[in-house]
């Protein structure tokens, strides 16, 4: 696992109050009891950590995160874009 993904999982575990071992990429946030307010806190922490902007609107299913992997991939994409920019 690369450094970015590792940091993302640590932040999800911390802000989502979930054991790190349970954070498989296909694990659904709802099944991990990560509530909507936890998700926006996770995103805030990730944006601060990586100095990125993650497109996310709680009203828009296209911008919502369903699984742990969704979050990791979104951060990796934004971090990669920032490196290019």
């Amino acid at each position: 696992m690369d450094r970015t993904a590792d940091d993302v999982l640590s932040i999800i575990a911390d802000k989502g109050h979930v054991d790190r071992e349970r954070l498989a990429y296909d694990a659904r946030l709802a099944d991990l009891s990560i509530a909507s307010l936890d998700v926006i806190e996770i995103i805030f922490a990730l944006e601060e950590r990586f100095q990125i902007e993650i497109p996310f609107n709680a009203n828009d299913a296209r911008q919502e995160f369903d699984s742990v992997g969704d979050i990791v991939r979104a951060v990796e994409a934004e971090v990669a874009q920032r490196r290019v920019a």
Binding site: L37, I40, F44, E53, N57, A58, N59
Partner: protein, 410 residues
Amino acid sequence: MGKVVVTGLGVVSPIGVCVPAFREALFAGRSGIGPLTTVPTDRLSVRVAAEVRGYAPEDHFDPRRLALLDRISQFAVVAAREAVAMAGLAFSGSLAARTATVLGVGVGGIGTLDDSFHRLYAEQAARLHPFTIPRLMVSAPASHVTMEFGLTGPAFTASSACASAGHALATALMLLRAGMADVVVSGGTDAPLTLGTLKGWEAMRIVSPDTCRPFSRDRSGMVVGEGAAVLVLESEEHARARGAAVLAELAGAGMSADARDLTAPDAEGAARAMRLALDDAGLDAEDVPYINAHGTATAANDATEAQAIHAVFGGHARRLMVSSSKSMLGHALGAAGALEAVATVLALRHGVVPPTANFTEPDPACPVDAVPNEARSVPIRAALSNSFAFGGLNAVLAFRRVPDGPAGFP
């Protein structure tokens, strides 16, 4: 227990700074939502708002007085002037002490706080303006309304975020029923469009990038607004004795707390407040053809509100008209419940149900007749106005049409 009636209305809103303009836009389904102009947007992803347009403070206040008035207090006083004038009241003699002032405020004088703290933290100012505190205090709008008319009865602010004005009007109703006042100047006000506040809303990830589409399948979140609305409430006895034009009856109120979640809405708490309002007003579910919904256009609120309506109204829910004025007014937080109460009174008076603007297609998760985009001319006898706040604090008002009200007024 005597009835409580509405005898005056006043508004400062994104769709009009007076009741006639407000009514015209409301019934035409004309939205006041547009590009954010009063706050620099270079550091914001939120680019739209429902701003009060065509409002110049110096048209309403002399410069000396203006120094003491945050935008939130200006709005409250301007709306109160219209409402009191419409009610035809003069507060001379003993009436001043028998008149209460209860205003809902969600945020308070945040424009003053934002400016002051920018000066302090960013510009390293050594001192702040001496009026900083009296301008920003949450009760300042209520104080200014008392001073404007010399009202010396009970006066205070009710604060419950987005339901503040609903709680204020419910409290006004109780004061009148309890005989603690003959008249209450009540409503709500907020002016929360500042960079600091909008950054906070941005971080909640529930603000729409374009506009407010309540109950619509493609709804994309709420739009922050601003404004004020004031209603003059009186005991029916007092209003009749002075021959006042009665606009509607405030027939009941229901209040509840979800006691569950700080941001997620709860159908059970909302349903309980609606049931209590119906009971308090002596209305059966079938007596109510229209609900002016809380309808913020967040995914969660509208589905939860629809669910609560079905729980309360059963089979009647599908025949109910349920529109959200926030599609035109945005969400003016502490003022929202009062602006929507005015919309509800106008609907009853004119027999016109205001539409939900910006509506594109029904959402199976919100199975209600949202009165899409076009007002309906249909006489209604009673209506509810819903306010459900962050933090699970709910207030629902029940209004009833007054059959012998003056024609075409206001």
